[in-house]
Amino acid sequence: MVRLLSTALDATRTRFRALVAGWARRRQGTDSLPRTLLRNRLYILPTKVAMVFGGILFVMLLGSMNYSNSMGLALTFMLTSLGLIAMHNCHRNLLELVVRSVSATPVFAGSTARFCVRIQNASPRTRYQVQVRIGDHTGDVQDIPSASTSDFLVEVPTQKRGVLRVGRLSVTSSHPFSFFRCWTWMHMDMECLVYPQPAAAGIAPPQTDVDVGGALHEGPGNEDFAGLRPYRSGDSPRHIAWKAFARDNTLLVKQFTGTSLTTRWLDMEHAPGRDLEERLSLLCRWVLAAEAQGFSYGLRLPAMAVEPGCGRAQQARCLEALARYGDPVGGDINVRP
């Protein structure tokens, strides 16, 4: 009976929250960044602490009136107005903060996605106890000093490969005294790429698909040594002539022409696995391995391909292709259709 009741209560609460969420969404529309938190989007409600405090104030009021105790009344009224002032300052504490950006670096499935929300406080007053919340996930509570910007990290665990979509986040604070909670909702499409979880090392990519290139190519490549040139920032450390550095103490970079003789095509066709996800995991491992070994590599999936290349950008392209393959959803948080 009790369980039935609590289930019913939970259901009601969920429905109510969905109603409120829908109402807020319709009211505020989709947000663009940067977004200043103005009065029309700040909500404030008393907390349980305030309820208890209010009850105690009532007892104090009755007691003071009963004893006709002037100082008791003065204390009671002082605390009452302190509550009122707390409400005012709680709201003021978030007002005119600016949410500048929301970003998230891609992660592998199974690890934690970190959404970084950058909030600016242009005012000459510190903003206390600000917290960012995404769904049920909360970040650290921080004070934002005057005229400065703080980054709020919210960690969201991931399980599935795909795109983790977040439709709403909230910025909240209950400074001072935790009497009131003031918050705002931001509605926008935020996403975090979730790469497949790399399969355990073991199965190596088949060597069959090695493409032999070489002398035909002109222009800079990374196969045939063609001399040394001074280091420019951005050059791969792998190409630095360390021997020359040890000798002359000058950073020189080895120059090559032509592409790798072994451009490796990583093809889904060749990745064994029980299902798609396992094969993608294996491809993910291959991409990482190829990058680590300094190969030039390309990725071939049914109906699409990533042209060969190497470096961080190439790895990111490949992993994104894997993440987005088949347009899966890595998880939705507060996303409304």
């Binding site: 009963n66 006709s68 009224f77 009452t80 003021r92 650290d140 935790s178 909670r181």
Partner: protein, 663 residues
């Protein structure tokens, strides 16, 4: 969808600094209670909170549930036995303090800390049930600040604020709260209590006259500098020597002590009173004395204050004990006579002496009465004896032999305070068959030179006698006046012999200190009258001054809402100013004003556009304002970026350009 909530669920390790704040706030609120608590309470609190703090610092386990339960039971029993119950302010406070001490040992979460601080607010309230003086009020204001700061600290997530910053923020909130508090204090509908039976006021701390008198009772009271009551006279106040403030009448003598007989329970026969001479009108504001006694100049007449009556012994009594400051207006006649005969039973009461008590006094009385021509002559003879023989008036007499105190006093020690003289005099009278009784009360009073009132302190406590004479009725005889006339003429302090302890001590002996003392008393009197005495009457008075005659509670609440709302609006504007981002560059401020003007006129002013581009674009579209645009932008660029020695000039040019700019 979920309402955002701070994460606070589950027990979490409390920071030692947060606990230190809680302990500090509690200590501060406990301090005013210290003198009234059983001696073991405070050490117990310090022990448990020290234990808790040690655990917070060095780690370790909180005591188990069984230990806590055992301690709680022991604490409750201790309180119950030492306070004889848990009702009443004193016992309630003790229990509160003990439970706070024990709560320290199970403080795990933020919520526990909050609870402790709420209890600290309660302790402040409890201290006001005992006393409400301005010094305590000031102290408790500081304590409220400390508790509020602690509350700010313990409700924080993450690191605490620096103490100074926390104090500053909490202080700001309290300052912001002050106006709203004042509005509520002045306008909140005051419903005269009590709604439920008041627990008996704690007897401790209330000093004053009592139902009994033995040698030394009044001498002890005389050392107290506490205010008994204050008086405002209408017109000139009578001379000090005539100010006899009548209190309880003691007529039952057991050979040693004087107490009240049942005659005090009967009402006075108003028809038997003949008032004479000029009337004296005055208002008394009486400090709580815990007894149903109202002090009045001998002798008050009709109309008496509400809920007050004269009893058979002509003492003004009220229906309820005076547990709060009480103000009443009276008309007294310093000259009066009681008419009519004394009943047989009354005569018996007033001439009764226990068999065999004070035999030498009784013998002396009979001998002197035999030599005297009449009762009046006899009385004069006794007074002459006090005056001419080496009797001494002192606050520190030798102890009397309590078997026959009157004998010992009259024949051996011959030194004493007013109750010694009054008591012996009454014994002598009764021994001679003259009805006599002792009247206790106050004599004299100090006029406050700063305020137009007189203050009467406990140190003015006095005892005198009344004898019943045929044809005259009850007649006041003050034997102390025979020994030490200066006591009656000048008041107590100036009448004491050297080396006697003196009420007020040093304060009286230095003129400037005496002035300070009087000024302080004035402050106290005003505080009592306007702050503590602020109730339904003063509230109506205040409101009628603003044109609100007899407003209903609903009207009052509406006025409160209007005032508080108005104040919050002002606060919003004030805070808006303080949160406004500060731009140091005056050129930028002016340029922003220009942009605002443009935007208001409907022009597009995207943030990414440089001033030059903006001027060019809008100028091309609207050649009418091209010149103006260029003027503003050019002077802005000069003022902002070409920081020359002509900066002020450029700025002035920009100001004018922006001002004149009409899109």
């Amino acid at each position: 969808m979920s309402v955002p909530r701070q994460q606070s669920a589950g027990p979490q390790a409390l920071e030692s600094s947060a606990i230190a704040w809680v302990i500090g706030a509690l200590c501060m609120t406990l301090l005013p209670h210290a003198p009234y608590l059983p001696v073991w309470t405070l050490p117990m609190f310090l022990l448990t909170s020290g234990w808790r703090f040690w655990i917070a610092m060095h780690g370790g386990e909180l005591p188990s549930r069984w230990i806590r339960l055992a301690l709680a039971t022991a604490g409750f029993i201790l309180v119950y036995t030492s306070q004889r119950g848990i009702n009443g302010v004193a016992a309630g406070t003790t229990l509160l303090v003990v439970m706070i001490g024990l709560k320290m040992l199970e403080t795990r979460t933020r919520r526990d800390n909050i609870l402790l601080l709420v209890l600290a607010y309660f302790l402040i309230l409890a201290s006001f049930l005992r006393e409400q003086g301005p010094v305590l009020a000031a102290y408790e204001a500081l304590a409220t600040w400390a508790v509020t700061t602690s509350l700010l600290q313990v409700t924080r997530h993450g690191r605490l604020l620096a103490s100074r910053e926390a104090l500053r923020i909490a202080g700001q909130f309290m300052l912001q709260a002050l106006p709203v508090m004042l509005v509520l204090f002045l306008l909140f509908p005051r419903i005269p209590g009590p709604f439920w039976a008041l627990p008996k006021a704690s007897g401790a701390g209330v000093s004053g006259l009592s139902e009994e008198m033995s040698p030394g009772t009044l001498a002890q009271l005389s050392l107290s500098d506490e205010v008994a009551f204050r008086v405002n006279f209408v017109g000139q106040s009578p001379p000090t020597s005539r100010l006899y403030w009548r209190g309880p009448v003691l007529d039952k003598f057991d050979g040693r002590n004087w107490s009240r007989s049942n005659w005090s329970a009967l009402p006075a026969d108003m028809a038997s009173l003949a008032y004479q001479g000029p009337a004296t009108d005055y208002t008394v504001s009486l400090m709580p004395n815990g007894k149903p006694w109202l002090l009045a100049l001998d002798l008050p007449s009709q109309p008496l204050p509400p809920n007050a009556r004269l009893n058979r012994q002509l003492q003004l009594v009220s229906l309820k004990p005076v547990n709060d400051r009480l103000s009443y207006t009276l008309r007294s006649y310093l000259d009066f006579q009681t008419l009519g005969p004394l009943s047989k039973r009354e005569t018996n009461t007033y001439t009764y002496l226990p068999e065999g008590s004070n035999p030498r006094s009784q013998a002396l009385a009979r001998q002197m009465r035999g030599q005297a021509a009449g009762n009046a002559d006899f009385i004069q003879a006794v007074l002459r004896k006090f005056n001419q023989e080496p009797y001494v008036y002192t606050l520190t007499p030798r102890l009397l032999d309590m078997r026959h105190p009157s004998d010992d006093f009259l024949f051996n020690t011959r030194e004493g305070f007013c109750e010694y003289y009054a008591s012996s005099f009454a014994v002598l009278m009764r021994a001679a068959g003259i009805p006599a009784r002792i009247v206790t009360g106050y004599q004299g009073g100090e006029a406050n030179p700063f305020g137009d009132y007189m203050v009467v302190r406990q140190s003015s406590a006095h005892a005198w006698t009344e004898v019943w004479l045929q044809g005259q009725g009850w007649t006041r005889v003050d034997p102390t006046a025979a020994v030490a006339p200066e006591r009656i003429e000048l008041g107590l302090p100036d009448s004491l012999r050297l080396g006697d302890p003196m009420p007020g001590g040093l304060m009286r002996s230095v003129a400037i200190l005496a002035d300070i003392r009087m000024a302080w008393d004035l402050a106290n009197a005003r505080w009592d009258e306007f702050v503590l005495g602020y109730g339904p009457e003063l509230q109506m008075d205040l409101l009628s001054r603003f044109g609100l005659n007899m407003p209903s509670p609903v009207q009052l609440v509406l006025v409160i809402f209007a005032l508080v709302g108005g104040f919050l609006l002002l606060l919003t504007l004030y805070l808006a100013r303080h949160y406004r981002p500060q731009t140091r560059d005056r050129a930028l401020v002016l340029y922003r004003r220009f942009i605002k003007k443009l935007a208001k006129a409907g022009y597009d002013t995207p943030m990414y556009e440089s001033p030059k581009d903006l001027a060019n674009r809008i100028g091309r579209q609207h050649p009418r304002i091209q010149g103006q645009l260029n003027l503003v932008v050019d002077s802005y660029l000069i003022a902002r970026y070409r920081k020359t020695d002509r900066y002020e000039l450029a700025l002035e040019q920009l100001r004018k350009a922006v001002q004149d700019f009409k899109p």
